[in-house]
């Protein structure tokens, strides 16, 4: 998909050129001794299969059920998140922002694609695309409408533009009717989009 469009189709001839270029480049860099091909496989596997938004969902579910953890998360997200084992690249400096009855938070990186990898994995295509990056700061309610989200009248929006190495995690509101649910069940309600702020946590029973 072109960065500057909403269309997810790739131009085929450009794609084959790109495929050839990266194959050529990888073998060249390996031949020159700059990279270890085996390391590349581990990098890919890490972010394709091991790190993802289930990490963030655990954090949110814990914050919903453990008031001391919630306070720690809001005071020092980096340490609180590290206590659950999520640390490292693109999550070195974490800040958690909490949705409330009167406040909705949404995260963007207008300048590139900054995103909290250890807790959410790699960002989806739309997060990195021009439609989202351009509109999130000037028309956040319009962006939410693209995601089917309409905020109640009178709710304020806070948009967090990730201009530095601080990475943001939204703590969505805990859905009503979840008083009896435990952390594991609650984590299932926490969608990735709800932790970016382009969605809300699911109502119980609404997920498959």
């Amino acid at each position: 998909m072109k960065l500057g469009s909403s269309d997810h189709n790739h131009d085929h001839s450009e794609l084959s050129d790109t495929e050839l270029r990266i194959r050529t480049l990888e073998s060249l860099l390996a031949e020159k001794g700059y990279i270890d091909p085996a390391a590349l496989d581990i990098l890919v596997d890490t972010y394709e299969t091991r790190v993802g938004p289930r990490n963030g969902a655990k954090i949110v579910a814990k914050a919903w059920t453990d008031p001391a953890f919630r306070k720690w998360l809001l005071d020092d997200a980096t340490a609180a998140i590290a206590s659950l084992g999520f640390t490292g690249r693109q999550g070195e400096h974490m800040v958690a922002v909490e949705n409330t009855a009167g406040l909705h938070n949404m995260v963007v990186c207008t300048l590139c694609s900054c995103y909290p990898w250890p807790v959410l994995g790699l960002p989806p295509v739309w997060y990195k695309s021009a439609p989202y990056r351009s509109r999130a700061v000037i028309d956040p309610r319009g962006v939410l409408a693209d995601f089917g989200v309409v905020l109640p009248e009178g709710k304020s929006i806070r948009v967090w533009d990730s201009t530095a190495e601080i990475r943001y995690l939204v703590i969505p509101e805990r859905p009503a009717g979840t008083g009896e649910m435990d952390e594991t069940a609650l984590a299932e309600l926490v969608t990735r989009d709800s932790m970016i702020g382009t969605g809300l946590a699911l109502a119980p029973g609404s997920f498959k």
């Binding site: 998909m1 194959r23 700059y34 496989d41 000037i138 530095a164």
Partner: protein
């Protein structure tokens, strides 16, 4: 720089359209671009601000017409050529035709886990105290450097309020030019939507950005 990557507030790109399925990578070439970029970053031949600048300084038509990992690939090729790690002829035919350059480190398979877990913290010590405190009114400076900056165009000239101090962090405007990390105090600054975009926004809507001290002056 005032480049195509500085997208905040631009119009005409259409709706946000999540794709179905949302694969992490779309084809093996994306996997390889991602991993090669990370591995080459680890060699210490450039810093993160230089790699961002390599991407955002691509010609605007190319930037907007490319997919995300095509931009990464183009940025990587540019850095490799600029640093003399490969030659244009080598890029063309994929065979080493000259001696390899010295690199500081090579990322070995056995070290990947530890390296990712360590990450690359940007917080540094700075002896001078922070100039601003939470609640102070500030204005984002109207700067237009040709070089890398993380002060988006849509904030420049606008007034905001210091929300929090984030610590002293590597200053990208200096680091991207190879002029050193020059750590500066970093602030979370709250800008009202009305201040940035005019009337038609709820009074309480805010846009927060992380701004280094040199981006700000007292209002």
């Amino acid at each position: 720089m005032n480049g195509a990557a500085d997208l905040g507030g631009m119009m005409g790109f259409g709706p946000v359209m999540p794709e179905s399925g949302e694969p992490v990578f779309h084809g093996d070439w994306e996997r390889r671009v991602f991993a090669v970029t990370l591995a080459m970053g680890f060699t210490g031949s450039w810093n993160i601000d230089q790699s961002r600048f390599a991407r955002e300084s691509l010609p605007p038509a190319q930037y907007l017409s490319s997919s995300y990992y095509q931009i990464w690939l183009a940025g990587l090729e540019k850095l490799l050529l600029e640093r003399g790690l490969v030659t244009a002829a080598e890029l063309e035919n994929g065979k080493a035709g000259s001696a390899s350059a010295e690199v500081k480190r090579v990322l070995n398979a056995g070290d990947v886990g530890a390296v990712l877990a360590a990450g690359g913290p940007a917080e540094r010590r700075r002896s001078e105290p922070a100039r601003y405190s939470a609640g102070d009114r500030v204005v984002a400076r109207n700067i237009h450097p040709q070089t890398h900056t993380r002060l988006p165009r849509y904030l420049r000239g606008h007034a905001g309020v210091i929300h929090a101090i984030r610590g002293a962090h590597v200053f990208p405007d200096s680091n991207a030019q190879g002029l050193g990390e020059d750590p500066q105090w970093l602030y979370s600054v709250a800008f009202s939507a009305r201040e940035l975009w005019g009337t038609g926004y709820p009074d309480t809507d805010r846009i927060f950005a992380d701004c280094w001290e040199p981006y700000l002056e007292r209002a």
